[in-house]
Symmetry: C2
Subunit: 358 residues, 2 copies
């Protein structure tokens, strides 16, 4: 499939299927090499069309981060779904109903969730979230006894089938380069290993699920883990490029935005394409916040990055772009700029729709 | 109408209709006092239900910032619609079609747009955007001769009915307090006046549309303007409170988010409610970025702000909240926190749906 540029009138997500499928295949090979199960996180694309690029729904285990995503993918035939965000007690009736038609795994991070699980009418798997340094959610990795006790209680719980641990080392996003990613990965793996050693677990086998796109893209071994759970790698984005998770030619998603104003004297153009399209996540580009990178566009999609071309500001519908004067001189009103967003997950969540090309 | 808290299971926008209607009435009175037409910007709510609180669709002139919003409101009986973003030539066929069934006003900021207007099959109004200091879009206010020449060409254009100027002083958002807002307003008004004086316009009467929520909320006179075009004032938000556009009890929109994790030792809780719900606009709270303010909740809605309670971080679905330890001790999993977002326009654009109460 080719992009029909003339039909694009508004900010439009472009997905390079060839690259996305290559990213999917590469991660699959990496998981096989590391002898862990791959459970791709589908929050990145939230699309049953793209979801099927990962394999048959019935045989592809997935992670999602909201009940609504879980329901969406269950409606599209996915069967093994891990809701990888701490349990919201208000959703118990809907979760219970979903558990009657899918193999549902929930996430908890506190003993208080045990009584909440009592209200389920159908059985679920449960992962205990462990915080190995990110500092967002999860039980502190040094709480060996507390985590062990919670696993014991889960193993004895009548509504719980399989159990395990879940880790998300989101602080890898603060790193730059493979060496930095390795530091986070090694620290997190070491802490997980310490927890597993100290717990002296003798019960049923634990699923140990780890994963974030930087470490899963660059590391080859996941000590202590039985499963990895990256999501963003299907597309990558500017943040991942700057972290060092990917190269420019791995990035499979960009947004085409029409030029609506040009200011060569300011080295700026403005496009239709704002916070409602890109969200407002930024990447730090040598001290300058960048909401996206302008790419060399061509008939088949896009090539490398345009030097000095980046999104310097976003308001609701406007995107303010820094561009070299020489390039602005050739731009007409209505020309399309192709922009790799800072964060492809939030861009897809904001825009929903997309155009696929090869 | 009352909020039925027990039915809220996911992050939910709450709209206080009493306050919103009071904000609408106050701005109407302010426009009448200043003898300017009020054209509310509907990008803030994007809802025909809330839109009708401003008056009958057929007699309420509005501004929007995308063709899709213009189509939506035209489908819901609004007739006088200003698309207040520079013309995107790719949308000409759809704009032309819309102009056949609504009184459509377009925005341009360059002579190149004149030939684009030739392709319209139906007539439109046109506003020339003038930049009086914000630095986003518009012709520089000192380009008197150029702007005059463009207005001349528009007046002679067969597809153009009424003409005018449009200004948006978005840099008022950088101010703190009424004195700061006044500085931006006076500078912008002075520059607009200078342009009008220097142009020596003798043609048909110009519509001169200005407006941003801070100046429209706090200033009483709009020299040179015939129309104001604020949007955010229907709800206000944390940014507007910090700018000084409103008081806490003017804020008519908040988001109820379920607590999914508690860390009293870190003075933090985590809610379901992330970047996909709030977008990622932030307010600067004494040097600390805040994506939202935690409010005292009560059976009828919310009261004042919780001291030390703010949203310190957002990932896709998680919101990390700073809260005093004493308050965390009383919170159970699944309790709802009521959060005034940094930017209500982006929150409404992200969430779409809402619950109304009085």
């Amino acid at each position: 499939m080719k992009i029909n540029w003339s039909t694009l009138t508004v900010p439009t997500v472009l997905v390079n299927r060839t690259r996305a499928k290559r990213n999917i295949a590469n991660m699959k090979a990496r998981a096989e090499g590391a002898e862990v199960q791959l459970r791709p996180h589908f929050k990145t694309h939230q699309s049953h069309i793209i979801g099927k690029w990962f394999g048959e729904p019935e045989t592809t285990p997935i992670a999602v981060s909201s009940l609504s995503m879980a329901l969406y993918f269950a409606d599209h035939r996915w069967q093994d779904i891990h809701l990888a965000i701490p349990l919201n007690p208000r959703e118990i009736p809907a979760l219970s109903s979903l558990a009657s038609r899918a193999q549902l795994t929930l996430t908890i991070e506190h003993e208080d969730a045990l009584t909440v699980l009592d209200s389920l009418a159908h059985s679920v798997g449960v992962r205990v979230e462990v915080d190995t340094g990110y500092g967002r959610t999860g039980m502190h990795w040094q709480q060996h006894a507390r985590i062990r006790k919670l696993l014991d209680a889960l193993q004895a719980h009548s509504k719980v089938t399989d159990i395990g641990l879940m880790v998300h080392s989101g602080h890898s996003y603060q790193e730059r380069g493979e060496a930095g990613i390795r530091v986070v990965h090694q620290e997190s793996s070491h802490r997980l290993k310490e927890l597993l050693d100290m717990m002296k677990w003798q019960g049923e086998p634990l699923v140990v699920s780890v994963g974030d796109t930087p470490t899963c893209s660059r590391m080859n071994h996941f000590p202590g883990a039985t499963e990895i759970r990256p999501g963003n790698y299907v597309f990558y984005d500017l943040q991942q490029k700057l972290i060092g998770s990917c190269d420019w030619n791995d990035i499979a998603l960009a947004v085409a935005c029409p030029v609506i104003a040009r200011y060569p004297e300011r080295e700026e153009v403005v496009v239709h394409g704002g916070a409602v399209h890109f969200s407002k996540d930024a990447a730090n580009l040598d001290g300058q916040l960048s909401f996206g990178q302008i790419m060399q566009s061509n008939a088949d999609g896009w090539g490398g990055p345009v030097g000095g071309g980046y999104v310097k500001g976003l308001s609701q519908e406007h995107g303010k772009i820094h561009l070299p004067k020489t390039m602005i001189r050739d731009l007409k009103l209505g020309d399309l700029l192709v922009i790799v967003p800072a964060h492809s997950c939030l861009t897809m969540a904001a825009m929903g729709d997309f155009v696929v090309f090869d």
